[in-house]
């Protein structure tokens, strides 16, 4: 049954009061002298008071001492023993205090054990962290070295990329110039094709006219042959006239000679002979002129005939040449047309290449920008790595400090002695 300590003192006080009240009453039933009757009640009250006080004080002192010993052990770090007040009939606040101390002890055991485990783990982790930090620091330094190499490589790459971009822009400009030249060439080829077609039409018309001229030339040759034959016929007539004129001249001359021989009688005849001779001379001169003219005509006709005869062979050769020229013109026109189409194809390809070059230039610009960004990022990475190295050094130092603190904590906590179960 629980009775609180205050009630226990009140109960003792009541017992003392009861002794004071009851003992005189009881003493009266005794045949004691009056002095005894007067002395016994106070003594009985005092005895009750002493007994109650002794009993309460003894229990209180023993239990408080037990509690004090327990707290001293706890203060000294001995957490192995719990407070045991024993089986009491009337537990009070001391039992509560002992229970609280035991609860505190249990908590302290758990806390110390936890601190011990945690500090050990923290020390181990701090050591691991320190080692890891050192490893990370070493790795970071290697990364920094590598990053510097990468930065140099990136810088060189940036320079190379800029040169490549410059070359690509030059190539793009060159492609654009080639495109312009090809466009002009394609236009020229197209114009040449049109001109070749027009030339072929004109040449075919010319060939037709030339064929007509060749036919006319053949007819002219035949006409020249006929004309030459006619000239020869006229020449024969002229020769007859010339012969007649010469004979007439000779007759007139002979007549004049005979007239001169006849003297005065022949004068009239001589005049007639002279006139006849003049006529004959005139006729002969005319015949001579006709003959000379016919000879020239004949020579010219023979020349023309010779030329025409010679031209007949050339006409045949000319026809073959015309056919060959027409065929060659057709082939040339086809060739020029093929060339124009090929130039168109080449222009299309060049335009695609120019477009591709433009895309490549844009891509190269982007690559250059990326390379520049890479260079900046690499620089930032290098700076970050420097910062990281410093931070890792700080962290390693902090880990070392933490390990030392954990060890110190462990050392400080190690003075608490725990039961085996708690340590386990």
């Amino acid at each position: 049954m629980r009775i609180e300590m205050g009630y226990k003192f009140i109960l003792g006080f009541i017992l003392v009061i009861a002794a004071v009240v009851l003992v005189p009453y009881l003493v009266r039933f005794l045949d004691l002298p009056p002095w005894a009757q007067s002395l016994i009640p106070p003594l009985a009250a005092i005895a009750v008071g002493l007994a109650m006080g002794s009993a309460l004080t003894k229990g209180l002192t023993r239990h408080v001492g037990e509690l004090r010993s327990a707290t001293v052990r706890i203060a000294e770090g001995d957490l192995r023993h719990a407070v045991n007040l024993g089986q009491r009939w009337f537990p009070d606040e001391l039992d509560d205090l002992a229970g609280a101390v035991n609860a505190m002890l249990t908590n302290l055991r758990q806390m110390v054990a936890h601190i011990l485990r945690t500090s050990t783990e923290v020390a181990s982790a701090a050591q691991n962290l320190s080692a890891t930090a050192e490893e990370v620091n070493a790795s970071t330094e290697e990364i920094a070295v590598t990053t510097e190499e990468v930065a140099r490589g990136v810088a060189e790459q940036k320079g190379e990329v800029e040169r490549v971009v410059h070359r690509i822009h030059e190539l793009e400009a060159g492609l654009q110039r080639i495109e312009g030249t090809c466009r002009l060439a394609a236009e020229a080829a197209t114009s040449a094709e049109e001109q070749a077609q027009a030339g072929t039409r004109t040449a075919r018309e010319g060939f037709a006219r030339l064929e007509s001229v060749l036919s006319d030339l053949e007819r002219s040759a035949e006409a020249a042959v006929a004309f030459s034959e006619q000239i020869r016929q006229v020449q024969r007539f002229a020769d007859v006239i010339t012969n007649l004129s010469r004979q007439t001249t000779l007759l007139a001359l002979n007549a004049a000679i005979e007239a001169s021989k006849a003297g005065e009688e022949g004068k009239g005849f001589a005049v007639v002979a002279s006139e006849i001779r003049k006529l004959a001379d005139s006729a002969e001169k005319s015949a001579d002129q006709i003959t000379a003219l016919l000879r020239r005509l004949d020579q010219a006709g023979q020349g023309v005939r010779g030329l025409l005869e010679a031209s007949r062979g050339k006409v045949a050769e000319g026809r073959e040449g015309l056919e060959a020229a027409a065929q060659a013109l057709g082939e040339i026109t086809g060739f020029v047309g093929d060339n124009a189409r090929r130039m168109g194809d080449v222009l299309a390809v060049i335009q695609e290449q120019v477009e591709g070059g433009r895309e490549i230039a844009k891509f190269a610009d982007r690559v250059s920008a990326v390379a520049e960004a890479n260079a900046a990022a690499t620089h930032e990475v290098s700076t970050t790595l420097e910062h990281q190295t410093a931070a890792m050094e700080d962290m390693a130092h902090a880990a070392m400090r933490l390990s030392e603190m954990a060890e110190d904590l462990n050392r400080r906590v190690s003075r608490f002695h725990l039961p085996d179960e708690a340590e386990a």
């Binding site: 004979q247 000679i257 021989k261």
Partner: protein, 144 residues
């Protein structure tokens, strides 16, 4: 100055005159039949109205370059001694008589060529009148 008419012929670009009295006729050129062993001036012989007519080249007789134009050359048949002789000239220019309008300017005297009787100047052209007897006599001497 001689007023006798002459037959004017042309030889090697020069004009020569033959007295018309000595000319029987003038015929056109016919190729003479060659006579074996003949001297150079004698070309051959022609059939002249059934008679054998010896033909001499006037240019050869005068020492000039002989030329032949079959269409214009003539043979002047002249009297010589008892026969006829043909003289081949390049062409005949006509009969030069006082009846013609030709003006005989003057007698220029003997020419330095052979067989020339006299030289006349007719309208700027010179006509050398031949001495037929001397010329044909020299030919006869060469034939003999």
């Amino acid at each position: 100055m001689s007023a006798a008419p002459v037959l004017v012929v042309e030889v090697d670009g020069e004009r020569f005159g033959i007295l018309a009295d000595r000319v029987q006729t003038v015929v056109g050129y016919q190729e003479p039949v060659p006579i074996p062993g003949r001297p150079k001036p004698l070309l051959g012989a022609l059939n002249h109205h059934g008679e054998l007519l010896p033909v001499a080249h006037l240019a050869s007789l005068l020492g000039l370059k002989p030329r032949l134009d079959p269409l214009r050359s003539v043979v002047a048949v002249v009297d010589w001694e008892d026969g006829l002789v043909g003289l081949l000239a390049e062409r005949a220019h006509g009969l030069l008589t006082p009846l013609t309008r030709v003006r005989v300017s003057q007698v220029l005297g003997r020419w330095d060529g052979p067989f020339l009787d006299q030289t006349l100047e007719v309208e700027g052209s010179r006509v050398h009148v031949l001495d037929l007897d001397a010329m044909l006599g020299a030919l006869a001497e060469r034939i003999r």
